[in-house]
């Protein structure tokens, strides 16, 4: 029986020829990282159980991105503990403010995570790097502590569900719409414990930014990870950045076993908006526009949609426009390199002229952490990944998820609209 990419990577890291869904293996990890929420707990555990040595100081990441620049004294103490741990153990991938970006944009950009890698991160959106053809999954702090000590993680071999997307996407649709559409079809539990493998000519036409967005939200369908087979675009992206020489490109076998195969037509995937309070509440923008949903805040950024092509789209729509009266538009470039690129291309000026505020790279508002927390009764359109109750602030606030084009257009209109509403279509 043939094997999927996910099976091949797990088998390779378990030291066996092949693996079967349902088996549990202790597998080697190539990289194990955490952020200022999760790594804080791991450092505490590491010290409490009397561990003295990490498995490899070059394969551990400490990425303070959630509450940085430090939002309060407690956070400052946490990032201090990360700094101290990094010094004590000679951790090479510890990123200070100034070089830190949102982890899931930063690690691929720096060439730290590569095709064929097995990666664990104590953050649920670690599944993002599946877009590089890696097996990459979110774990908890205890798993991370275990990986730091042993270089291993326990994994149950998951079944794979294949998603084939074919055809031409409508205007203003991209990776975000594909994944919101899929989650709308299968539900937030639709791929629980499974791998989501994305394929088809529509996926092949997408740039890497859009592919990262798709894999990033695999967790919102409950998946262990999302995976896209590497192609020439992947290789080019990796070759320009890779930090290590060696990496392995895996392909799924023709006769690999899939638990299910879904086929979708790209033409059906118009820009989507997911209504509170679950990502599965996806509706097509043209229906949503008729509902006249007034908004207080728009957030463009995050590990889902804070990359350069996301900002490019936002800038195209915001150029020469003004943010609606009483609407706050917050834009978060995901990494310092993306920020600088946006500055050189003139996007930052466009954003400022439109009346947006451009914040430093941080997860901040996505999780109601800081820099853009909502008051009771407030409503936001956001290019982030979750719209759970209270996610962006007060428990009586609301988050609508969309792509950057819809978010930018909505900021101008003061209500949720299609970009065509602003630009004519």
């Amino acid at each position: 029986m043939g094997q999927t990419i996910a099976q091949k990577i797990i088998a390779n890291h378990a030291g066996v020829d092949e693996v079967v869904p349902g088996e549990i293996h202790l597998v080697d990890v190539d990289f194990a990282f955490g952020n200022d929420i999760t790594a804080a707990l791991s450092i505490k555990q590491f010290n409490e159980i009397g561990a003295t040595k990490v498995f490899d100081p070059n394969r551990i990441g400490l990425i303070p991105d959630h509450y940085t620049p430090n939002k309060d004294i407690k956070t400052a103490i946490i990032t201090q503990s990360m700094r101290n741990f990094a010094r004590q153990h000679g951790i090479t991938h510890h990123y200070e403010v100034g070089e830190v970006g949102i982890e899931h944009a930063l690690l691929p950009e720096k060439g730290v995570v590569l095709p064929g890698d097995l990666i664990v991160g104590a953050d649920s959106h670690t599944c993002t790097y599946g877009a590089l053809g890696a097996f990459s999954t979110g774990v908890g702090s205890t798993d991370l502590t275990f990986a730091w000590i042993t270089g291993k993680v326990w994994l149950k071999v998951p079944h794979t569900i294949k998603f084939v997307i074919s055809g031409e996407l409508p205007q203003w649709s991209g990776g975000k719409d594909i994944i919101l559409y899929i989650i709308g079809k299968i539900g937030v539990n639709g791929a629980n414990y499974r791998v989501m493998e994305f394929t088809g000519d529509t996926i092949k036409k997408l740039n890497m930014d859009n592919r990262f967005t798709i894999c990033n939200m695999a967790i919102e369908a409950g998946a262990k990870t999302g995976i896209i087979e590497p192609d020439e675009k992947t290789i080019q992206y990796v070759e320009e950045r890779k930090e290590r020489e060696e990496y392995t490109v895996y392909h799924s076998d023709e006769d690999a076993e899939y638990e299910k195969v879904y086929e979708f037509r790209a033409e059906d995937i118009v820009p989507q908006v997911s209504f509170p309070h679950l990502p599965e509440n996806a509706k097509p923008i043209y229906e949503v526009e008729k509902m006249d949903i007034r908004i207080d805040q728009v957030v463009i950024g995050s590990c889902t949609n804070g990359r350069i092509s996301d900002l490019e789209t936002a800038a195209r729509i915001l150029k020469g426009q003004k943010v609606a009266d009483k609407v706050r538009l917050l834009i978060f470039p995901a990494t310092p390199a993306i920020y600088k690129e946006a500055l050189m291309r003139g996007y930052i000026e466009t954003f400022l002229d439109a009346g947006a505020v451009v914040a430093p790279p941080t997860c901040g508002p996505c999780l109601g952490g800081h820099m853009g927390v909502l008051a009771p009764g407030e409503r936001a359109v956001s290019t982030t990944n979750r719209n759970f109750r209270g996610r962006m602030g007060h428990v009586d606030s609301e988050v609508y998820l969309s792509n950057p084009a819809v978010a930018a257009a909505s900021a101008i209109a003061g209500k949720i609209v299609s970009p065509d509403y602003i630009l004519g279509g």
Partner: protein, 161 residues
């Protein structure tokens, strides 16, 4: 181990943002986390929950974030066990790893209400509701081993340190 406790019933898709909201994630202090457990879905929960109480929930309990603070908050609040129709995968492994007892069972949910008392034999995976004896989905061998060690860190200590 046998547990007898009062039920707290919650619905489907209880996410980690309501189990422990991000505004409280700037600490790793378990007692502090417990004070805000379930705050955004039931502000009274943290005040009223008693040691030994049991959470019963629907599908995909613990969806969302990887924050281990969620099962830690529940464990530290005194809850002895979570029974759900299904768990989100990161929450599932986090609970096993930190030694918060969890069981998967589809039937219990419809048979109990908040405040009911139920009895559970964790070793046998048996849930007793009134005169009904229900079986929880058995754990894989490796997971049982971690549970028997009392969590992944004890396992690591024993085998690697």
């Amino acid at each position: 181990m046998k547990i007898k406790g009062k039920v707290w019933k919650f619905g489907d898709n209880i996410d980690t943002d309501v189990i422990i909201p991000a505004r409280y994630l700037n600490t790793t202090d378990e007692r502090e986390l417990a004070k805000h457990c379930m705050e955004d879905i039931d502000p009274e929960f943290a005040k009223k929950v008693q040691p030994g109480d049991i959470i019963v929930a629907g599908e995909s309990f613990g969806i969302g974030s990887s924050r281990e603070h969620a099962p830690l908050a529940i464990k530290s609040s005194g809850v002895a066990l979570v029974i759900a129709k299904s768990f989100a995968r990161i929450f599932y492994r986090n609970s096993i790893n930190i030694g918060l007892p969890i069981l998967e069972n589809e039937e219990v949910y419809d048979l109990v209400e908040t405040g009911d008392e139920i009895e559970v034999d964790l070793d046998k995976g048996e849930i007793i509701v009134g005169d009904k004896k229900l079986k929880a989905r058995p754990f894989p061998e490796f997971v049982k081993e971690i549970i028997n060690y009392g969590g992944l860190l004890n396992y690591a200590k024993e085998k690697y340190l």
